[in-house]
Symmetry: C2
Subunit: 131 residues, 2 copies
C-alpha cells in the first residue's frame, strides 16, 4: 500500500509549477497503478489553455470556482465543487479560475513526471520522452 500526503508532497519535487498553477503528483507511472493522480491548484483569476493529445484526463473539482471551454465546440461549463470533466476526445480546452481551483486529476496513460507542457499545450507521449 502506498500512502502519501498532499500537504507534505507540495513542499517537494513532486510539486511542479508553471505560470499560475501547481500540480502535485500523488501517483506517477512508476507506481504501477496504470494511471497517474495529481492534485492541481490553479490560481484565482488565471486562465490556461491545455491540449493533452496523447492522454485522457479526468478532472474533479474539490474546491473553488471557474469554468472550462471546449475549444472544439465552443461550449463553456461551470466548474464548482462536485463537477467533473473528462477529456475523452483529447479535447483542446481553456480552464479559467475565478477563485483558486483545487482539482483532482487522473491521467491515462500515466504521466511519468518528466513531461513538460509543450508550446501547443500538450504533454509529449512517453515514447517521445524516452527517445
Amino acid at each position: 500500500m502506498i500512502v502519501r500526503d498532499f500537504n507534505e508532497l507540495k513542499h517537494t519535487d513532486k510539486a511542479v509549477s508553471d505560470a499560475r498553477w501547481t500540480s502535485v503528483r500523488m501517483l506517477l507511472a512508476d507506481d504501477g497503478m496504470g494511471f497517474s493522480f495529481h492534485i492541481t491548484v490553479i490560481e484565482a483569476r488565471s486562465e490556461h489553455q491545455f491540449h493533452y493529445k496523447h492522454h485522457f484526463e479526468s478532472v474533479y473539482c474539490v474546491s473553488g470556482r471557474g469554468s472550462i471551454t471546449d475549444l472544439g465546440t465552443g461550449e463553456t461549463h461551470e466548474i464548482r465543487p462536485g463537477v467533473m470533466y473528462a477529456l475523452n476526445l483529447n479535447d483542446r480546452h481553456v480552464v479559467r479560475a475565478e477563485e483558486e481551483l483545487v482539482l483532482a486529476c487522473v491521467f491515462n496513460p500515466p504521466v511519468t513526471g518528466t513531461e513538460v507542457h509543450r508550446e501547443d499545450g500538450s504533454y509529449a507521449p512517453a515514447q517521445e520522452l524516452v527517445g
Copy 2:
C-alpha cells in the same frame, strides 16, 4: 468532453449504496477513459473491510477524518484531507470513518457499474461478470 456533477448524479442510479456507504460513479468503463472514477461517502462512525483482488484502487480524501489498516501488514494510517492511499498490491484493508469521509476513488481496470461487493470484500473481475 464529458461533464458530470456529483450533486446531480447522487440522486440517480449512478449512486450505489451498501451498508453505511454510497459510491457515486462519475466515470465507468463504458466512458472509455481506461479507469473509473467514483466519489464515495462513508458514514461517520462506520467501519468497512474491502479487498479488491482484481482492481488497483487509489483513494484521495477530500474531507472527513478516519483511518485505514492494511490487513497484510497490520499498519494503520490516518486519513484526513489531502491524504491518498493506493492499493498497488490488491491489499486487503479496513477503512474506518470517525467523521463522514468523502473520498475520490480511481479504479483500474475500470468498474463497469454492474459489480457487487462479494462476501470476501472484492469486486469480481469484469470477465466473471460477463460470463
